[in-house]
């Protein structure tokens, strides 16, 4: 059986500018941030970024790599708004596709099921239809409870060129284990994508994932995965329970660097100018200083 182990560099090396890429997690929770940082070390640009948005969208916007953001929200959870995304939107620097978060779920599901759309009540009557003029409605072929067929939104499949999720543990075949309380929509991001990538806090041999949790925690299986990379601290500064909580102090520093070119350059030079090991070292120094 094939070993799907790869490095972060090899994984992002398969991407091309202009691709549509999806990121698992939710808000500032279990985001594949090591991949985001690896993207920042490449020349990739003009990306369409699809996510239950958090600092993945924010950081890529801050670095000018995003052509279009596809989202229902962008938040840092403990900080309501990601100021980098906010600045990019207000400057007109990114295009946007904004939809209800349930529509977003259905769009991923449609792509994963290889159907062109799924019907949705969500969106009806709202300006989501106004700002996304490509959205169509569909009339049910069946009569409703009052005899009248319902007209629903036909949420188009959200197809991705590549998807990234970060999990607590994975094995070398590409099975992934989520030990935190919420698997979010990670499996659907993988299902919706052409190329599927998993990063994990730690890699183990096939069959050993059961040593760290019951079978239901292995929410990603190797049918859904093309490559897997070890990325300890790979969700930092977002939360990755039970391995670590959100780094609130670091998130504050990230947010504070928004909207001010000098502050952003300083943040970038301090934390994002080297590789992932350099990042971890810089974070450790910064945590030590704060103590």
């Amino acid at each position: 059986m094939s070993d799907k182990t790869a490095t972060l560099e090899e994984i992002v090396g398969e991407l091309r500018s202009g691709m549509t890429v999806g990121f698992g997690g939710w808000g500032s929770r279990r985001k594949p941030m090591a991949v985001v940082r690896a993207i920042l070390r490449t020349g990739l640009t003009d990306l369409t970024v699809v996510a239950y948005g958090g600092p993945d969208i924010g950081l890529l916007c801050a670095a000018g790599r995003v052509r279009r953001a596809v989202y229902g929200f962008v938040t840092l959870d403990s900080i309501a708004l990601d100021p980098h995304f906010r600045a990019a939107r207000q400057a007109g620097a990114v295009e946007a596709t904004e939809m209800d978060e349930g529509m977003f779920f259905l769009g991923l599901q449609a792509a994963a099921q290889r159907v062109p759309f799924l019907p949705s009540r969500a969106g009806l009557g709202s300006d989501v239809l106004r700002v996304n003029p490509e959205l169509r409605t569909v009339t049910s072929p069946y009569p409703g409870p009052d005899g009248v067929a319902e007209e629903l939104v036909a949420v188009p499949a959200l197809r991705l060129d590549a998807a990234f999720v970060h999990v607590n543990r994975a094995d070398t075949h590409g099975n992934g284990q989520i030990l935190g309380p919420d698997p979010f929509f990670d499996d659907l991001f993988l299902g919706a994508a052409e190329r599927r990538y998993v990063t994990a806090e730690a890699l183990v041999a096939p069959g050993e994932l059961l040593d760290s949790g019951p079978i239901q925690t292995i929410a990603v299986n190797r049918l859904q995965t093309d490559a897997v990379a070890a990325a300890p601290g790979g969700a930092h500064f977002t939360s990755c329970p039970p391995d670590y909580d959100r780094d609130e102090a670091f998130q504050k520093a990230y947010a504070a660097a928004a909207g001010d070119a000098e502050a952003w350059i300083a943040f970038e030079q301090r934390f994002l100018s080297g590789d992932e090991a350099d990042y971890r070292a810089a974070v450790a120094v910064s945590a030590e200083e704060a103590r």
Binding site: G72, G102, R130, D182
Partner: protein
Amino acid sequence: MTETVDTMVTRAEVCAVACAEAWRGDGEIMASPFGSIPSIGARLARLTFAPDLVLTDGEAALMVNTPAISARRPELVLEAWMPYRKVFEVVWSGRRHVMMQATQVDRFGNQNISCIGDWAHPRTQLIGVRGAPGNTVNHTTSYWVPNHGTRSFVEAVDMVCGVGYDRAAAAGPAASRFHEIRRVVTNLAVLDFETPDHAMRLRSVHPGVTVEEVVEATGFELVLPAEVRVSRLPTAEELEIIREVLDPRGLRDKEVPA
């Protein structure tokens, strides 16, 4: 209730009770409050007149106990798994009553949390539509506005996220079938849509607030009943629950200062 207790009640506590009242009669549904005072309200309702309400821990579970809004594990006792995917299933089943916030709300209950200004070139980018479009056409929705003013109560919202009565009706039976905007609770008053055309009506003013103040703080014509009631005060039991059990750290006063 004695005169002394009445005068000691804060505006935030009146608001918490008004929020709680929004869930009265809802039975066994998920109450999803956004904000400190709505959270106190939902928990207060469960501890008093709405014992069957289902509440989440804010992460991925339902909690069986009803601790302070600032409580975290291990003070929370969990009763079931509720990751986000299951939350959508609850939304689509209709067994939910959410109280969202509204940066803008209009006279038919359309709500905006997405952006201020033209959506294509926003003057201020906010959080995004989130689940508001789906919530409002699937189950009961109420709103909490801690700063009632003409910037939040507007003639027309800049981006319709939560769907109001006029837009739901125009979108057809699929949109209006499960649609209900029950209440808008603010720091000044309680409003509802119990009018023939579902235009927003002043339901009650909080103690110490005049009808004129509310009218002035509202950027569209409010329906005024012949006699405007005063929002009820907390009972002695409710006051004790709010102060001693649900919000001993006084987070409510940060949302609505005394």
